[in-house]
């Protein structure tokens, strides 16, 4: 039988708080969220934690585990050394509501500012034809479970609250990239990217990519292509028109 797990869990609200220590008997295959649930059921029935699917699919149980932003449901206890004390704290970038739950409504406000998907006309036969090669890269972005770990770790907003007004953050660069690279989309988001989303603040440190539980290549596949596009769109309109046209042409069937 393995040793007990010792946890330091942040307890408190927007007025302040501190870590409290709990000990829970270990069981095979446990993840951090299991330990939190055991603490709830046995020792701290009002311990606040946000979770849903417990399978890494909904992105609700984001927290900072030993200082590292991660999903509690996908962090296995056997990743830690036996007897190691595990510290669980709420996401630092967002205001605390209570205990491990933060107010992530900022992200839902940003979502409202992203211009919607707007498809072009259908094919002559009334269908929408797209090829797997063309949707693959966008499907990578659609894997995003909105856990907001990338938003949490991004130093542009983590360390500078004021920047939240002018910097959308990695989650929304992924969303904008998914719309911009969608084979059917014809909407125009370059003003948003340039002026309001603050893409220029990102200096590609790749912290967001490292914490993404869906392993989306946020920096390489979303942010950098958007930066390149913005440069050419603002300084080389002909190149932008050409690329837009070539995208409309689609790709021959393999």
């Amino acid at each position: 039988m393995a040793a007990d797990h010792t946890f330091k869990v942040w307890r408190g609200d927007d007025k302040g708080g501190a870590h409290a220590e709990y000990t829970v008997p270990a069981e095979e295959g446990m993840v951090v969220l299991d330990v939190i649930h055991r603490i709830q059921a046995g020792q701290a029935p009002d311990l606040a934690v946000r979770w849903n699917c417990k399978a890494g699919k909904c992105g609700s149980c984001s927290a900072e585990i030993n200082g590292h932003p991660a999903l509690m449901c996908m962090t296995r206890m056997d990743e830690f050394a036996e007897g190691e004390t595990v510290t669980v704290s709420p996401l630092r970038t967002f205001p605390v509501i209570r205990d491990l739950v933060t107010d992530v409504s900022h992200n839902y406000e940003v979502a409202k500012t992203v211009p919607a998907f707007k498809p072009g006309p259908k094919e002559a036969d009334g269908t929408r034809r797209m090829y797997q090669d063309d949707v693959d890269r966008v499907q990578e972005f659609h894997k995003c479970i909105e856990c907001f770990l990338c938003q949490d770790v991004c130093h542009v907003i983590r360390d500078h609250e004021d920047n939240k007004q002018s910097f959308a953050g990695p989650r929304f660069f992924v969303q904008i990239a998914s719309l911009e690279m969608h084979p059917l989309d014809r909407n125009d988001r370059k003003e948003l990217l340039h002026l309001k989303a603050g893409l220029g603040y990102c200096n590609i440190t790749k912290c967001c990519t490292e914490v993404c539980p869906e392993h989306i290549h946020i920096t390489d596949n979303a942010i950098i292509p958007l930066k390149e596009r913005l440069v050419s769109e603002y300084y080389d309109p002909l190149a932008w028109v050409m690329r837009r046209l070539s995208r409309q042409g689609g790709k021959a069937a393999p």
Partner: protein
């Protein structure tokens, strides 16, 4: 005692409770029809149980097999449901789901593609042709994100982390809903001309389940409390393949897509045991040898592999193998895709299954067979609705998705849930908005009802009793798992009724610690009311139905019964007492009945 607290109140034409696929689709429709619409959800927006749907959305688009059409889909759905389905819902569902899939594409969803650029469709249990539009094995996420972003751009008001658990009535008709804001614990009332219930399922009353904490049967319980009729509550689907090891992930869903894409079930001797469990009902269309079963994937002139029999059949077969001592080390059986498809194919088609097993169980599904076993997954029963309008038996109250009953009969086919959400979500939104525009007067809200509901919700803070909501929940889950599981019998069901009575008495004495802001102990104490109520109706309905059919198997009545085949069990509440009766099934018109006479 008067309540010394001001209750925050909102006014809308239509309030949609629940923001999974059905709720968001309903809100989009109702809002598009000009009704002032609010979408209220227990979790953050976009986290509803729909995100966990993996395999796909069933729609007879005919992109892979031209032979497919709505009649074939209709027939598969009815036969999969052991003919207990509401035929009209099954017809509308089969006819409208292709348009709903194309609508998702119009709104930005990116499904996997066929070589000629159309939406690809995959094989699934009980479907005659490859029919499920999908995105790898994360179709639900694609669907909810598409609907979510569409709703955001339509400007629909969304209330996140608000739990509504009580309907308000003006006489017999609905006038609003009542609950609390999770983040602050403040009470909140929504005055509404119409309410759409889209609250999903009730799996959290069972110990081993694929459902998240939200699936506590709130919508079914509040409809029942408001006088609505429920049907088919004994019909609970145990998905044949949940994870079984390690204990912390027991019950977590393993998509049927694993079998749809070629995976096969084996027992501890390595035998493909499903060939031993082909029921007479499906004999004509099911392969009886491995060669034909494997050939079916590529050529539908062969009969379908028994690995893809409807879920109730497969779950019972696994249960029997384990009971006979031929199970896997942790009480399941083996699902093998490693010897049947290449690692590249597996990772491309089933990426999240690969990741789920790798990260949570340390098992590489591209290399070895892995353990699976049945898990409580879906409620076929629920709130009785009008097939066309999604109206319940309470005026102004509509229901769509898992909370509603009828479409799936005694057993739901995989892939028919996501299509259910958008087909009937849209209908519920449309007819709720129409109902509102035809309303002569605004329903009145009654202060006494509000006060009574408020007191009930706050009572756990005053209770001096030592009952922990977590302990009551654990005991409820054991009761339902042990006594109202896959295989049922009269003595155990009777025992379950007694235990549920005892749990209800304990819930009266439940006490919670801490304040009202984001207090999961308090929230669970309130969810327990819903869970106990739906558990009781399920158990009592299971006692009544003296036959075995779909998601209801009686050890003491192991065969289907011709008389029961024509009956729905109906439950409603009079005062605080449950009242049950049987109603005859709606009769299918001859032109549809003919579809079942042909040889297939």
């Amino acid at each position: 005692m008067a309540l010394n607290e001001k209750i925050e109140t909102h006014d809308y034409d239509v309030v949609v409770i629940g923001a999974g696929g059905a709720g968001i689709r309903a809100a989009i429709e109702s809002s598009a029809m000009g009704a002032r619409t609010a979408l209220v959800c227990k979790s953050l927006f976009g986290k509803a149980h729909t995100v966990m749907a993996e395999g796909g959305i069933a729609a007879a688009m005919g992109n892979v097999w031209k032979e497919d059409n709505w009649q074939v889909h209709f027939r598969d759905t009815m036969r999969g449901g052991k003919m207990l389905n509401n035929w009209r819902m099954a017809q509308l569902h089969a006819q409208e789901s292709p348009d709903r899939v194309l609508e998702l594409e119009e709104w930005g969803a990116l499904f996997d593609r066929t070589p000629d650029g159309l939406i690809l469709q995959r094989d699934f249990g009980g479907h005659r042709y490859a029919r499920l539009a999908h995105v790898g094995d994360r179709t639900g996420l694609e669907m909810i994100r598409t609907l979510q972003q569409h709703a955001v751009h339509k400007g629909i008001d969304v209330f996140m982390e608000v739990t509504l658990q009580r309907l308000l009535l003006d006489g017999a008709r609905v006038s609003g809903a009542f609950g609390y804001k999770r983040q602050t614990g403040e009470l909140v009332a929504f005055r509404a001309k119409a309410i759409v219930l889209a609250t999903g399922g009730l799996g959290k009353a069972w110990k081993i389940t694929s459902n998240s904490w939200e699936s506590t049967g709130d919508g079914i319980a509040m409809a029942l409390d408001a006088g609505a009729e429920l049907i088919d509550m004994e019909m609970i689907q145990f998905h044949p393949t949940g994870m079984v090891w390690p204990p912390s992930v027991r019950g977590l869903l393993v998509t049927e897509g694993v079998r749809g894409d070629g995976g096969t079930l084996r027992n501890s001797t390595g035998k493909r045991f499903m060939f031993d469990y082909i029921p007479d009902f499906f004999k004509a269309e099911t392969a009886d040898n491995e060669k034909e079963a494997d050939a079916w994937y590529l050529d539908k002139k062969n009969r379908r592999t028994p690995d893809l029999l409807p879920r109730d059949e497969v779950a019972r077969a696994i249960n029997s193998e384990v009971k006979a001592g031929r199970g896997s080390p942790h009480g399941g059986v083996f699902l093998d895709i490693a010897t049947r498809r290449t690692p590249e194919e597996i990772k491309k088609r089933l990426p999240s299954m690969y990741q789920q097993f790798m990260e949570l169980a340390g098992v590489d599904i591209t290399k070895v067979p892995f353990e699976v076993g049945p898990t409580c997954h879906y409620a076929m029963g629920g709130v009785r609705v009008n097939a066309d309008t999604a109206a319940t038996t309470v005026p102004g109250l509509f229901a769509a998705g898992e909370v509603a009953a009828g479409l799936h009969g005694a057993n739901r086919l995989g892939g028919n849930s996501l299509s259910d959400l958008v087909v009937f979500g849209r209908r519920a939104g449309k007819y709720a908005a129409e109902y509102v525009s035809g309303l002569a007067s605004h329903p009145a809200t009654d202060a006494a009802q509000l006060e009574e509901a408020a007191k009930t919700m706050l009572r756990p803070f005053d209770a001096k009793g030592a009952e922990s909501p977590y302990a009551i929940h654990a005991d409820l889950q054991s009761t339902m798992h042990d006594l109202v599981g896959i295989i049922r019998t009269e003595s155990e069901l009777t025992e379950a009724v007694a235990r549920l009575e005892a749990l209800k008495a304990r819930l009266e004495k439940v006490g919670v610690q801490g304040g009202r802001a984001y207090n999961p102990g308090w929230n669970l104490a309130l969810d327990l009311h819903s869970m106990l109520e739906v558990s009781e109706v399920t158990t009592r309905s299971a006692l009544l139905r003296q036959e075995s059919r779909g998601g209801h198997t009686r050890d003491d009545y192991p065969k289907p019964d011709a008389a029961w085949a024509k009956k729905n069990i109906v439950t409603r509440k009079r005062g605080s007492a449950l009242e049950q009766r049987t109603d005859p099934l709606p009769e299918m018109p001859p032109e549809l009945a003919k579809l079942f006479e042909e040889a297939h």
